[in-house]
Point group: C2
DNA sequence: TAACCCATGTAAACGGTTACATGATTCG
DNA sequence: CGAATCATGTAACCGTTTACATGGGTTA
């Protein structure tokens, strides 16, 4: 069978889909919702993109499609990983993952703040601090709920926990950066008002939860 | 004057170029090298892309071009920010910066490791740990050299320092994540060999505290 | 009855990457 | 003499985003 040229390059949505479908077969619609939730924090994708890539993967034999006729609504096209797909998954885990270069418009703006409205940039830092605090609280609540005891993790849970910890560490780091900058630019005296102490750690069982639409991590 | 549709959208390379040119006028070639260096860790761009965007920005009146004839080699096209460009820069600093969704193939791979070669993934974690340690050491050396005293920073230096700290915190966080995962997946007994304790910290000569990224509380 | 969910798609535009091309100068 | 530097570009491709489209079922 032929290999498309781009299969050798990044093409990561494909692998994200393979992982998600290896966990559980699904339709494009299902996957879209999964990407809106747990997986979505680390890899976002729109339904248009997902449908297109699913189609290509099926063509390439990585996925098998089963069509469930729907009355009135369009047929459900349920995708499952084939043997070839599993081989590709195995191959992929064996190759080194290139370090993604971080690309931060925020950092560029900080760097350029001297040429613009400094007060506005400081306000933006404060706004983002609140965002990161909220996201962190959400992750932490998730962790406390699903993985209360690190020692008791099963083999299946461990990778999910690891990824969640990645999110937590990332948010903690961004939050700490914002705090440091607010201190540096002399704006720490303005009350932040909305979020409790920055560093929510492990055993804490309180966790606000609050304004979150999506929950759960499958 | 007309506005292109995409000026209202992200279009961030444009702003990165505005910032860089506001600091110092330059040719496309100069900018390419700048993006390979300091600025490049937070925003990478190839020369092709830079030339294209520079051309468009000049068309739109954000930049002025001065042509210095070169003998033999192509003319130097030196770009400088116009008043309109400075206005755009000001406008940009006043609008909130959308949180960039992080997109990590690495996280996806961790999540899917159960369907692939787990040992290979653990090896990959170890490899990336070393990369982050190296990058962190580089940043930290940079900081020690250029900004040895936080209290003594000038107004011009402060944003540059802030951005560098962002890089340091990011790398510390990724490094801590790798360490945590190596511990979690029971591979910490394999010697890492190359880098000293995770947490290189600022002036603080206090206790190391080991793999922890953020401190502080508002 | 209005809004949202299910479920699929097409089309166009844009941003970014890679490959290819040119040609003089300087340095080891 | 070969490699790297200076300095600019074209062309093609790919991934991603946004807008638009369809149409029945469920719920407030």
């Amino acid at each position: 069978m032929h290999l498309r040229a781009y299969e050798t390059k990044c093409m990561s949505l494909q692998h994200a889909l393979l992982v998600s479908l290896a966990e559980q077969e699904a339709t494009g619609y299902d996957l879209t919702r999964r990407f809106d939730r747990s997986l979505g924090f680390f890899w976002r994708a729109t339904h248009q993109q997902i449908y297109r890539v699913l189609g290509r993967m099926a063509e390439d034999g990585l996925l098998a499609v089963r069509i469930e006729p729907g009355e009135g609504r369009p047929d459900r096209r349920v995708y499952a990983v084939t043997d070839l797909g599993r081989e590709e998954l195995l191959r992929w885990t064996r190759e080194p993952t290139p370090s993604e270069q971080l690309r931060s418009e925020f950092a560029v703006k900080i760097r350029g703040m001297g040429f613009g409205d400094e007060d506005a940039v400081v306000a933006d830092i404060r706004r983002r601090r609140a965002e990161h605090a909220e996201q962190l609280a959400y992750f932490e609540a998730n962790r406390a709920k699903h993985y209360p005891d690190v020692e008791a993790l099963t083999d299946e849970e461990r990778p999910l926990y690891a990824v969640l910890r990645g999110g937590i560490l990332t948010e903690q780091s961004l939050l700490a950066w914002c705090d440091e900058m607010l201190d540096l630019f002399g704006a720490s005296d303005v009350p932040v008002a909305d979020t409790p102490p920055t560093d929510i750690r492990h055993e804490t069982t309180e966790a606000p939860e609050a304004s979150r639409t999506s929950r759960r991590t499958a």
